[in-house]
């Protein structure tokens, strides 16, 4: 249980059974009056945001979020299916919930699925993922102002800039936090 004086940026609280994260926070107190806590909150399920002012007597339940290691199975329309390898329980995430991680979803990849109670909210993939280049144009010097980089398409459909020496069929390592090329992977 939190009280209003625990509020700070990044705190996760439960309101009306939904998890919210505090994205902005300020303490205000009119002269000799009671302390007020002005917060901007983001709903961690649907992303909606709103502002609310709390008083020091207000209390909140913490939003208990858990991460579970799960394996990516398949995509069905705009749903992405993940399975818990121990319980074989399966969950679906929407395209929106998957976010940028969609660029790295290769079959059977293990990812951390974020849960609020029994609802899956989001996903984080490993920091480094190896992906096959499925389409790369041969490169002629002077083709582009980008100099020593060229765009290629990876097996997930992700388009990325890589050094000009990378060829179709090669495997590269991508840093999923920045979405950038890291190195060529042999074998």
């Amino acid at each position: 249980m939190y009280t209003a004086s625990d509020l700070r940026k990044g705190l996760r609280i439960k309101i009306d059974n939904d998890p919210y994260v505090v994205t902005e926070f300020n303490f205000v107190k009119p002269g000799k009056g009671q302390a007020l806590y002005r917060c901007r909150l983001r709903n961690m399920i649907n992303g909606s945001q709103f502002e609310r002012t709390f008083r020091s007597v207000d209390t909140f339940e913490s939003a208990d979020l858990q991460e579970k290691k799960m394996q990516y199975l398949y995509q069905e329309e705009d749903k992405y299916c993940f399975m818990d390898n121990e319980s074989y329980e399966q969950v679906f995430l929407t395209r929106e919930q998957v976010g940028d991680a969609v660029n790295y979803l290769i079959d059977n990849i293990e990812a951390q699925v974020l849960f609020f109670e029994d609802r899956a909210l989001g996903l984080s993939v490993p920091n480094f993922v190896d992906l096959v280049v499925t389409q790369a144009d041969p490169w002629a010097k002077g083709d582009s102002v980008t100099g020593n980089q060229k765009p290629v398409t990876l097996q997930t459909g992700y388009q990325i800039l890589v050094p000009t020496f990378i060829e179709e069929g090669e495997k590269i390592r991508v840093d999923t936090r920045t979405g950038e090329y890291l190195t060529r992977v042999k074998g």
Partner: protein
Amino acid sequence: MIQALRRFFVTAGYLEVETPVRIPAPAPETHIDAPPAGDWFLQASPELCMKRLLAAGYGKIFQIAKCYRAGERGDRHLPEFTMLEWYRPASDYRDLMTECEVLLPFVLQALGRDAALVYRGERIDLTAPWERLSVAEAFRRFTPLTPEDALRKACFDERMALDIEPRLGRERPTFLYDYPAACAALARRKGADPALAERFELYIAGLELANAFSELTDVAEQRRRFEMARTERERLGKVGYPSAEPFLKALGAMPSAAGIALGVDRLAMLLADADRIDDVVAFVPEDL
């Protein structure tokens, strides 16, 4: 800035005083918490000791003191801050308004600055007279409620902090004056309208800079208001304070006077065009 403040008061015939920071019995105010220090407390304000000096016949006095308020931390609040507090006998809150109108231009001039402040891109003219706005008029202008309605609906502080304060002191400083008596534990009631207390707050660019009273000198009334604040603190589950008996005893001998407390860090924010109080102190608690 501090030197200019001192020079102003010394020149105006005030005596600089020093009172203990650690005290056994803070003034019971509903929403101000003095942090415990051993079996005593750190002062939330030097008010009670300074009034005892007034009662002892010290005349015009001022003090620049560290004050402490538990749980107050935000862009404009530090749990430890510097307060300039001064008292003048045989005066009321209107005299303090006039004195503020002289003090701030004096400080600006001493620092070699223009008579106008530029704060966050806004120009605020400090030439007297400044705006005088009653609390009732401010509610009429900026909210759909009267102060009495707001108090009844327990949303006085919200309306004040969210709808009124940000709009005050925009082109020139604003004195917001005549608070409902319930909002002024140590202020004298207005003779013409006892539902109001002779209290004002000074705002510049939406920033609350100072709070002033025509001081209450009626011992029985003061005791009753302390009791009310104490009951309210109890109801809110706040730390109880012992009764400030030596203060109440001295109050009977206190001459009629007006007193004011000005946030020195806030003044520094205005002068330095700083958005956050963190920018005008060397260390904030999070750095220690």
